[in-house]
């Protein structure tokens, strides 16, 4: 008798889960404990382990789908058996708004949270030798037991190992709950109410992913100053002509659009930066999928422009505009936010002159773009003149990128931005 596996409720507050990745295919045999899929909840990416041995008859929802808790995700039964009709439940992926059906007896149990969203082959937590108590402690502390060094018999991870990791200074400061009594203002008139604001799904994801990145990726930083005058000039010319042609609906190119396009071109020239750390190998990517930060009122998201290496400036600008619109109305699908190979962040519009972002794992680097400011520079004839200068920072994953090829990338980017007509062809 085939059993339908539903989207399990993996946390108290979970109402919708995103199927990040299927580890199984239709027709594949699965045993108790096999990891069926990775599911991202509002809190973490969790592994779903199998409690119904058999053959996968049907996968109802593809990777990337967002499903309410209780919706069928796959069916497991005997080989050759017909896949059951999922009881009239909606099989197609859909938005989070649907009512949440009560689940009776969750057929899948959450394993330890997945190490991170990197496509790198993670050491499988379920195969790590760890005591049940250590696993439970790790789950509470949001640590991956597979990443811990076990000091028990045969390398088993035991409680003391988890305790040591949890109290390690690297994660203690940002991750530990802050419990400091702060006196209210003496005059009773504060700048905002004293309150513990609950951490929402997006904030929790930001916290988890960036903490993980900063704690596990060896960041190094390079900086270059770019003469932005030619770029400003080209932008002004293009926008003027576009406005004349298109009127009200004309495309308006932002500085960021140029930087995105220039980044894609620079990655084409220095492809070593378009890669990911994969544990025992470095995975190089043939396509440039450019992620860029969009600030929202309560956090930020990083939508992805696919195949940016083969897109024109106009295509990139159009894509970016559409994605920013979706981001602000919170309509980005998980697919539109995943699979990037490089990330660009820009705080220039706030007047920030330069900064270094935290790498968006599994990217090998992140570009941080500052404001274009007027300042004195020494020109080719050793005269002090007024310049338009833009400072660009690169944070690199030193496992993948070294100083030299990171610098080559910035050199290429600088050249493209300073001679921006190149990006028009």
């Amino acid at each position: 008798m085939a059993e339908i596996i539903d989207m399990p409720k993996l946390s108290d507050t979970m109402s919708v889960g995103t199927l990040v990745k299927w580890n199984i295919k239709e027709g594949q045999k699965v045993a108790f404990g096999d990891i069926l899929a990775e599911v991202e909840t509002d809190k973490a990416t969790m592994e779903l382990s199998c409690t119904v041995p058999g053959t996968v008859l049907k996968i109802y929802a593809p990777a990337g789908s967002q499903l309410p808790v209780g919706d069928p995700i796959c069916a497991i039964g005997k080989a050759g058996e017909a896949a059951p009709d999922p009881k009239g439940k909606p099989a197609a992926p859909k938005a989070a708004a649907a009512p949440i059906p009560e689940t009776t007896g969750i057929p899948c149990i959450p394993a330890a949270p997945a190490a991170n969203a990197a496509p790198a082959p993670q050491s499988d937590a379920s195969r790590t030798s760890a005591s049940p108590y250590a696993r439970r402690m790790a789950e509470k502390a949001a640590l991956n037991v597979a990443a811990l060094a076990g000091t028990g018999p045969g390398g088993r991870v035991v409680a003391r190992d988890v305790a040591a990791a949890a109290s390690a200074p690297v994660s203690a400061a940002p991750a530990g709950p802050v419990n400091v009594a702060v006196a209210p203002p003496a005059d009773g008139k504060g700048i905002q109410p004293d309150a513990d604001v609950p951490v929402g799904g997006m904030r929790a994801t930001i916290a988890r992913r960036l903490l993980e990145s900063k704690n596990t990726v060896p960041h190094f930083y390079l900086e270059v100053e770019v003469d932005a005058a030619p770029l400003m000039g080209l932008r002004e010319t293009l926008n003027k002509r576009l406005a004349e042609q298109g009127g009200e609906t004309a495309l308006k190119l932002s500085v960021n659009d140029f930087i995105l396009k220039a980044s894609a071109e620079a990655l084409r020239r220095v492809p070593a930066v378009n890669a990911s750390w994969a544990g025992t190998s470095i995975r190089q990517h043939s396509a440039v999928h450019l992620s860029f930060g969009v600030a929202l009122e309560d956090g930020l998201v990083t939508p992805v422009i696919r195949d940016a290496h083969s897109k024109s400036l106009r295509d990139i600008a159009t894509d970016a505009k559409a994605l920013i619109g979706k981001a602000r109305s919170k309509k980005l699908s998980p697919a539109e936010m995943s699979g990037s190979t490089f990330t660009v962040t820009n705080l220039g519009m706030y007047g920030v002159t330069g900064f270094f972002g935290i790498i968006n794992v599994p990217n090998a680097a992140i570009l941080s773009v500052g404001a274009t400011i007027k300042k004195p520079v020494i020109d080719a004839n050793d005269r002090i003149v007024m310049g338009h200068r833009m400072v660009i920072g690169l944070s690199g994953d030193h496992r993948v990128v070294d100083g030299a090829n990171g610098a080559q990338f910035l050199q290429a980017l600088k050249q493209i931005l300073e001679e921006p007509t190149l990006i028009l062809i």
Binding site: S131, P132, Y133, A134, R135, R136, G152, P153, V158, A159
Partner: protein
């Protein structure tokens, strides 16, 4: 509080119950005129007379059957077995008759019998006189089994056993008879089915019963002094009913468990305790459950070898360090 021996504590329990309830009688081989093979019943014949303290023929099947019949009619016999090893010739009476009569009579007939006597190895009396049948007997629904480790528990459990309306089998230990401890004068009971934390600790739970508790306490001292390990010792006291909560609470505190008993390991009491812990405290375990039992062979007659066969502090320390690895 008076400091008396385990033997005197048992005797005090019986004397007080003989005084408290005229239906309590003592029966067994040599319990009256000879004052008991191990002098547990010393002086009771003189104090209570031959109607309350009765010598029986050397026939366990016969006199245990007699006691069971008497108990069905409202007498509360406290039967002595010279060794619990001899219970095997009265197995039908002890298990089939005593253990099942309440169930098979639909609750109309109780069997408030107590059978007591030593059940231990370690005294160089050979394989047929050294059995520890608490696991065998406790595996039968309808039967209660207790194993006091200290004089205090010996008195309190014996009184609880005598007052209980079901058959309660009290396993004593000849090596403990001379152990001394503080025992309140007068009436108190140790309820059946309530374990006792004999020593508090944080790093390891040792679960033991009977003399293994004393062995474990000695091991705990060594572990603390020589290895800096804080050991909690849980004394089961009752094998059945079993105090699951005290065991589980301790394991949930220390996350590691070592089970020590003088039984042979196969189907021993601790096989059941190990099952309980993994079933109900699995997520609290930081290491596999360890076990120390008698070495799995008929009781060895050679004294020096028998001393190694039984759990002793060095073996318990060794096993504890393995669980703590």
């Amino acid at each position: 509080m008076a400091v008396i021996t385990y033997r005197e504590a048992l005797r005090a329990a019986m004397r007080e119950e003989l005084q408290r309830d005229e239906n309590v009688v003592i029966m067994g081989e040599e319990v009256a005129q000879f004052n008991g093979a191990y002098k547990v019943t010393e002086g009771l014949l003189k104090e209570f007379g031959p109607k309350r303290v009765v010598d029986t023929p050397i026939s366990e099947a016969g006199f245990i059957g007699l006691g069971i019949g008497a108990s069905m009619l409202g007498i509360r016999p406290v039967m002595e077995l010279m060794f619990w090893s001899f219970s095997y010739v009265a197995f039908d009476q002890i298990v089939n008759n005593a253990g099942n009569i309440r169930y098979m009579s639909g609750g109309l007939i109780n069997c408030p019998i107590v059978i007591r006597g030593p059940a231990n190895g370690g005294t160089n009396v050979g394989a047929t006189h050294s059995h520890t049948p608490e696991a065998i007997l406790a595996s039968h629904p309808g039967i209660k089994v207790v194993c006091p480790a200290t004089p205090y528990d010996a008195k309190g459990l014996m009184k609880a056993a005598i007052r209980d309306n079901d058959p309660v089998y009290v396993m004593e230990n000849t090596i403990l008879y001379n152990d001394k401890g503080e025992v309140p004068e007068g009436d108190y009971i140790v309820p059946l089915g309530v374990a006792d934390v004999k020593r508090e600790g944080t790093d390891l739970t040792i679960v033991a019963h009977g003399r293994a508790v004393i062995t474990s306490l000695k091991a705990a001292e060594i572990l603390e002094k020589e290895h800096g390990v804080s050991v909690e010792v849980v004394d089961l006291r009752s094998i059945r009913p079993l105090d699951e909560e005290t065991i589980l609470a301790s394991v949930r505190k220390t996350h590691r468990a070592l089970l020590v008993e003088e039984n042979k390991p196969f189907c021993g009491v601790d096989a059941q305790v190990a099952y309980l812990i993994q079933a109900k405290a699995f997520d609290d375990l930081d290491a596999p459950i360890g076990r120390v039992s008698s070495i799995d062979a008929p009781q060895i007659y050679c004294k020096r070898m028998e001393d190694q066969q039984l759990p002793h502090p060095a073996r318990v320390v060794e096993a504890a360090l393995k669980v703590l690895a």
